[in-house]
């Protein structure tokens, strides 16, 4: 056995061996000169390599894989341009706390600093957008570095880790000993927990509160605390508002669910937050898109912040009680002490804020002959709600309509770029989600602008025979930018109209079954036929060109100051 645990191997072989031992089954990558030794050693590995068309796609796929499964996603690229193409995907994963490990080739260690062909200081470039990164110059460092990279990526507040491996470190050989290569991270503390006094202070605030609201964020999903949050909300009778990345953390159909808060949140949700006397922030970070103007944000409310990252405490909003630790563990500690309190008065007053907006059904509104994105998304929800569906959205108007009109019941059923707002995210992230969860019905919902940023990955879908459904919400505009121009730049539509190719023909050229939908009556049949087809499908939904996402809190405005839909237009006005 001793000879099995200690054997002479190349750095490249050690890399794949360590990835296998970390549980990796798929990697997304693109070969090139400095990573070729690693690709040469791939043939002996059980890991399936998915060839992408652009390295940005590889990182988004790894990210989508991670968010769909909770496992670390892996992307591989060569040095120089291969590595720099990963930057956007790494920053996306960083802002949304997604665990990915990026492996890049680097020029030979003797050439470093010489401006060699395809040399880039990628550890320097990615320093502010990774949780941690490494430059590996010896084969003997590969095993420990990979183990540390995975540990750092998935523990604590997850995030991207980049490992840059020189060509000679891949080529040279050394003794491989997995056991001896344990992580050595003396300064890394992912497992903090609050002290007794803080728990007591939190419970006192909770029990004294008359108008509490839970702000449910991405941390609930990362921590796997859905049941604990639900139990907490039900026992204490506290309504739940969700962030964009929190959608799915609490069932949309639950009586205590309020819906999404923030810039494009429902009006009653934002009003509820502004009227609250206690905010319970669960794994969320008071992003400017959810708070609006900080000076007027929930100014009468005490704040309890349960958060794993101590650097988030008092960053944007000053809190009264911080509970720093893993959300699930913290709620486990709190739950036995939470008293059941009748808050029906508060809940009734929220119902009054809702008015009839919450129950209005856009399907019952008359067909005006126009196709609105909200109809497409609402129909998509109706057709796919009962299955194991993952919706992956891009960034812009369609993303907000999806958040408003697709009712997410389960965690990891929505994957979207929240923090960085990366256009071009959806298609590759959808591929990653499908690879992670092949049984799931994956729908990429993407605008015509974002789709064209990474559409080269259609070829990846076909080459890998992946059943991914693509719904292009095509309005011929960079819609959200156009909306800002409409509101804040006197309708000066500078550089927002798009002259698009025929997306259905484009899909056909890739060998993907494609169709174009222009009428509301065609939406449901097109979704049904896409689900029945056993290969990938692209649907080009030609929607109303100048539609607007309402309500809207303008950047920097107070949360209760919303731009509302003008009353004469009601076709999509489920949020009125």
């Amino acid at each position: 056995m001793a000879s099995m645990t200690r054997q002479s191997m190349t750095g490249a072989s050690i890399l794949w061996e360590c990835l296998e031992r970390e549980g990796v089954q798929h990697v997304f990558g693109y070969p090139g000169g400095a990573i070729l030794p690693a690709y040469d050693a791939l043939k002996g590995s059980k890991i399936h390599h998915i060839l992408v068309r652009h390295e940005q796609g590889a990182t988004h796929m790894a990210d989508g894989y991670a968010r769909a499964s909770g496992q670390v996603g892996v992307a591989v690229a060569t040095s120089g341009p291969g590595a720099t193409n990963m930057v956007t995907g790494i920053a996306t994963a960083m802002l949304d706390s997604s665990p990915i490990v990026c492996i890049t080739g680097q020029v030979g260690s003797k050439l470093i600093g010489s401006d060699a062909f395809q040399e880039t200081d990628i550890t320097g470039v990615t320093l502010p957008i990774t949780k941690h990164n490494y430059l590996v110059t010896h084969a003997s460092e590969v095993a420990r570095t990979i183990r540390e990279a995975f540990y750092v990526a998935r523990s604590g507040r997850p995030g991207p880790v980049l490992v840059d491996i020189t060509k000679d470190a891949q080529q040279s050989t050394c003794e491989f000993d997995w056991e001896a290569a344990k992580p050595q991270l003396p300064g890394y503390r992912p497992d903090l927990s609050p002290d007794r006094k803080e728990y007591e202070q939190a419970l006192e605030l909770i029990h004294n509160s008359k108008r509490p609201v839970i702000l449910a964020g991405h941390g609930i999903i990362i921590s796997g605390a859905m049941n604990e949050v639900r139990e907490f909300a039900e026992r204490a009778g506290i309504p739940v508002a969700l962030t964009l990345l929190g959608l799915g953390a609490f069932p949309a159909s639950h009586p205590l669910n309020l819906g999404m808060m923030g810039m494009h949140g429902e009006a009653w949700v934002n009003h509820t937050i502004q009227e609250a006397d206690l905010l319970l922030a669960f794994g969320m970070r008071f992003d400017d898109r959810v708070t609006g103007n900080l000076k007027t944000y929930a100014s009468n409310a005490k704040k309890i912040h349960i958060e794993i990252d101590p650097a988030e405490i008092n960053k944007n909003v000053k809190v009264d009680v911080p509970l720093v630790g893993d959300l699930r563990e913290v709620l486990h500690e709190l739950l036995p002490h939470v008293e059941s309190i009748d808050r029906s008065e508060w809940l009734d007053s929220i119902d009054k804020l809702k008015g009839d907006a919450a129950v209005r059904d856009i399907q019952n509104l008359p067909d005006s002959g126009h196709l609105y994105a909200a109809h497409v998304i609402n129909d998509l929800w109706r057709e796919t709600r009962d299955g194991d569906t993952v919706v992956v959205t891009d960034v812009g108007q369609h993303q907000m309509w999806e958040a408003q009109y697709y009712k997410h019941e389960k965690p990891r059923s929505l994957i979207t770029s929240g923090g960085l707002g990366t256009m071009g995210f959806a298609l590759p992230a959808g591929i990653g989600a499908k690879v992670a969860r092949p049984e799931a019905d994956v729908w990429v919902v993407v605008g015509d602008g974002g789709f064209q940023m990474t559409l080269c990955e259609l070829a990846t879908i076909v080459q890998e025979k992946l059943k991914v459904n693509i719904a292009i919400i095509n309005n011929g505009f960079l819609g959200m930018v156009r909306q800002w121009q409409e509101f804040f730049y006197e309708c000066n539509y500078a550089a927002t109209p798009l002259l698009n190719p025929d997306f259905a023909k484009l899909g056909e050229a890739y060998g993907i079954r494609s169709m174009t939908v222009t009428e509301r009556s065609q939406v449901v049949p097109s979704v049904q036929s896409a689900r029945q087809h056993d290969g990938p499908v692209l649907i080009n939904f030609r929607v109303e060109q100048e539609d607007t996402v309402y309500p809207m809190v303008a950047a920097g405005a107070s949360l209760h100051e919303m731009i509302r839909r003008p009353s004469k237009i009601v076709e999509t006005a489920a949020d009125e």
């Binding site: 550890t123 320097g124 320093l127 502010p128 949780k131 941690h132 430059l135 750092v152 050595q184 991270l185 003396p186 300064g187 890394y188 503390r189 903090l192 990252d309 101590p310 650097a311 405490i313 008092n314 960053k315 000053k318």
Partner: protein
């Protein structure tokens, strides 16, 4: 207000960049940063002074801890500490000015470390305001060149900040007289 941090980091390539990059990225303005070896070869020690209010100071500490290579962070601003800066000041000192400059240096307990026909180089160690004071009185003679190390700081008395890089560092550093030797 000016906050003084003692920061222990792993002695590895690129760690100084990580720390400096953090301050730049979070828009915290470093007043002074010094770094050097410690009694343990695998550990480096930094003294960082930053202008920050109370909340910012806490966030700086939390953000420093987010760096994987950072072992221990102590904000010693409100604790009794020995704080030292070292300066070398080259002053124009011709024949007639020389004795005045030497006199001033001796008042400040500074040492002359180089003598040339047209100049004197004075070395002074002390708190920053002491060095500022000497500089002030030397300026009329003509300061030709000056270099300062930036401050280094250490807590007084038996309170000590040391760290064992091979073991997880104790994060609770607020208590008085707690030794972090492991």
């Amino acid at each position: 207000m000016l906050n003084t941090y003692v920061v222990y980091v792993e002695n590895k390539p690129g760690v100084l960049t990580r720390v400096a990059s953090l301050f730049r990225r979070r828009a915290f303005n470093i007043d002074s940063l010094t770094v050097g070896r410690t009694e343990k070869p695998e550990v480096s020690r930094m003294t960082i002074t930053v202008d920050a209010d109370h909340d910012q100071a806490r966030r700086i500490e939390a953000n420093l801890y987010k760096l994987v290579n950072v072992l221990l962070v102590e904000n010693i601003t409100s604790q009794p500490a020995i704080v030292r800066d070292l300066a070398m000041i080259k002053v124009a000192a011709t024949h007639e000015a020389r004795s005045h400059v030497l006199e001033l240096a001796s008042v400040f307990r500074a040492r002359v470390v180089d003598v040339a026909p047209e100049s004197l180089t004075i070395e002074i160690t002390g708190a920053e305001d002491k060095i500022d004071g000497l500089l002030e009185v030397l300026r009329p003679y003509g300061v030709l060149e000056m270099v300062r190390t930036g401050i280094v700081a250490m807590r007084r008395g038996k309170s000590s900040s040391t760290v064992n890089s091979a073991a997880a560092a104790d994060q609770d550093v607020a208590e008085e007289d707690v030794s972090h030797s492991v």
